[in-house]
């Protein structure tokens, strides 16, 4: 699992990347009340806003950590947004992206680097 500075995570299996927001992000947002996941078939570029997460405190854009085509979206979040709080880095995933350039992941942080990054915040 790799992380961005904007607190998204990405996990690659073959050329399919599962993406979501980190536990740190979910905790900072507080109780999540609404999630807008991208449409299947949408093409996203790394850094594009591709989803929205709204909590009792704030609404935030979620940025695509990798470029590619959305092949699956976690529609369960529309009726159970609390999953983002209870399992942000597992069942609370947002979308699966068929990556167009796996090398993009090289620039992202691994768990240790992300933990070190969090310690600086």
């Amino acid at each position: 699992m790799k992380f961005t500075k904007d607190h998204e995570w990405v996990s690659l299996d073959g050329d399919i990347a599962t993406v979501g927001i980190s536990k740190h992000a979910a905790d900072a947002l507080g109780d999540v009340v609404f999630v807008e996941v991208p449409e299947v078939g949408k093409t996203v570029a790394k850094g594009d806003s591709f989803a929205v997460v709204e909590s009792v405190k704030a609404a935030s854009d979620v940025y695509a950590p990798v470029s590619g085509e959305v092949v699956e979206a976690n529609d369960a979040l529309s009726t159970a947004p609390e999953t983002v709080n209870s399992a942000p880095q597992a069942d609370g995933w947002f979308a699966k992206i068929k990556v167009s350039d796996a090398a993009e992941l090289d620039a992202l942080m691994d768990q240790a680097a992300y933990d070190a990054f969090l310690a600086t915040l």
């Binding site: 900072a28 109780d31 009340v33 009792v56 704030a58 935030s60």
Partner: protein, 522 residues
């Protein structure tokens, strides 16, 4: 048991603390008030109207078949219902209302007296112009004050709220780019991360792509980041000054210069104009469009007390695109420019059916004229002084988000000082309710962790500020002393206890439905 004096009253009333729960849910002359639908008003009516004399309806199949579903109440029942609800509410007429970025100031009663003059309150927008010359003169005078205070050549009075004013400003900007043939390539609007949420929402609503501009460590627009994002694809920037961190944008002239160099327009969010009114003219800063919340800076009521009003001042470059209507004055008196022809040929249209919020125009102008130019300058000075007093008196216990230097009209704290206490900004705010104080703005701006944004306005006297600060200090000390229970369940003394905001947001119930088995159940 407290000691009684000779007339049987407690000598120290505050010591009488036994508080049995009431039997009915009422509290000290306040009855527990049900929803208006839950009374016994079904099937009755409070007014006695004659049967309408009609020969059938023209609505055909569209005639309502089910009952309308509104309870009937007599006048005293209606009055009591709403007055009881109001007694459970907070109002600026009760105490300080320190909501940051909202400028909750006293609404002078003189304003109300003026607004109730029949020449202003009993007129209709479709009346012949010759019969409303006074009202038009008032609009023209208000426009003159707004243009003079901002140093801008034009104003559109009609927008009905701050966000409506933002829409007006961006529509004028879009019209200007369309007129110069640049609309197709200028598709972006730059917005700092600390902006009011309405700024990106407005830009998106007008069809622009929003690009965020970073903030510096000291809470201001990162000019280098702004410069790197400006280009011939940018239509406008939207900057609030003072910004939502309560800080003056020191580089505002540079921001304005860079923006204009790139061919873009400078929209200024005027929500925080109260901090600079009479001291700084936004026109001198290079602003092209700015809304002015009459319900903030110019003391007209917020929310239930009256509608908002968000006039927009425009620069020379944008003035031709101002929406109709506006007032002009010539030898024949005052009249309204209503149509997109002649001098208004480039107007982008209009934002509302008539002339806007007349009652708010009267109140705002009353406020301006009763203060005068010198008085308005003192408004800004006192508002800034009050915020700095709060910051200075609390910053030893609470952590100021930007401790270096003075703030403008609002003091911003983060939740660093609550670390390790298990108490959150939300808990702290709820405990303030128990102490008799409406909480400050929480969790905004988003760029500050656990933000607490306090805006006292010039309304508060030193004595009132001291009472507020005293309560805040006692609470802060209790938090640091580990008195967690005082915070976690708060409010304990409010008519309703801690509400489940999460559940309310996740599964909102937007419509009352009769309980099963009642005679109103469908």
């Amino acid at each position: 048991m407290s000691t009684m004096n000779t007339v049987g009253r407690p000598t120290a009333p505050n010591e009488v603390q036994t508080k049995p729960a009431t039997l009915t849910g009422g509290r000290g002359l306040l009855q527990n008030e049900a929803l208006i639908f839950e009374g016994d008003g079904w099937g009755k009516t409070g007014v006695d109207l004659p049967e309408p004399k009609t020969d059938g309806s023209d609505l055909g199949d569209l005639v309502r078949k089910d009952p309308i579903g509104l309870p009937g109440l007599s006048e005293p029942e209606t009055m009591r219902h709403y007055v009881r609800l109001s007694q459970k509410n907070h109002a600026i007429d009760l105490a300080i209302y320190p909501l940051g970025s909202c400028t909750m100031k006293h609404n002078p009663r003189l304003n109300e007296k003026m607004a109730r003059l029949p020449g202003f309150s009993d007129i209709h927008p479709l009346q012949p112009i010759s019969t409303v010359q006074g009202a038009l003169e008032l609009m023209d005078t208000l426009a003159h004050w707004l243009k003079t205070l901002t140093g801008m050549p034009a104003v559109a009075l009609s927008p009905k709220a701050g966000a409506h004013g933002e829409l007006c400003g961006l529509m004028a900007i879009r019209a200007a780019h369309e007129a110069s043939g640049q609309h197709e390539k200028r598709r972006k609007v730059l917005v700092p991360t600390s902006a009011h949420g309405t700024n990106p929402a407005t830009a998106a609503f007008v069809g622009y792509t929003v690009v965020e501009v970073a903030q510096t460590e000291d809470g201001r627009v990162d000019v280098a980041d702004l410069a790197s994002k400006l280009g011939d694809d940018v239509a406008a920037i939207m900057v609030t000054n003072p910004n939502t961190c309560g800080l003056f944008e020191r580089d505002i002239l540079e921001i304005s210069r860079l923006t204009h160099e790139a061919g873009a327009y400078f929209y200024c969010d005027g929500a925080n104009f109260n901090a600079i009114v009479g001291r700084v003219r936004p026109g001198d800063l290079g602003v092209d469009a700015m809304h002015i919340n009459l319900h903030k800076t110019f003391s007209t009521p917020h929310g239930g007390g009256g509608p908002g009003a968000g006039p927009v001042v425009l620069s020379e470059a944008l003035a031709p695109f101002a929406p109709a209507p506006w007032v002009v004055h010539d030898a024949d008196g005052y009249r309204l420019i209503e149509r997109e022809e002649d001098e208004a040929v480039q107007a982008f249209g209009r934002l509302c059916a008539f002339q806007g919020q007349m009652g708010m125009y009267v109140r705002a102008l009353s406020y301006m004229m009763s203060h005068g130019a010198d008085g308005l300058r003192q408004v800004a000075e006192d508002a800034v002084l009050n915020a700095n007093y709060i910051k200075a008196r609390l910053c030893d216990l609470m952590s100021a988000a930007f401790p270096d230097g003075p703030c403008m009209h609002e003091a911003l704290f983060d939740d660093e000082w609550l670390k390790g206490t298990d108490i959150t900004t939300l808990d702290f705010a709820k405990a303030m309710i128990d102490e008799g104080f409406h909480p400050m703005t929480m969790y905004f701006p988003l760029v500050v962790h656990g933000a607490m944004l306090i805006e006292p306005t010039e309304t508060e006297s030193k004595a009132e500020l001291d009472r507020f600060i005293h309560a805040m200090r006692l609470l802060a000390q209790a938090a640091k002393a580990g008195d967690v229970d005082r915070f976690k369940g708060a409010p304990f003394h409010a008519p309703l206890k801690r509400l489940d905001e999460t559940r309310a947001a996740r599964s909102p119930v937007l419509r009352w439905s009769a309980p099963a088995g009642s005679n109103q159940a469908a």
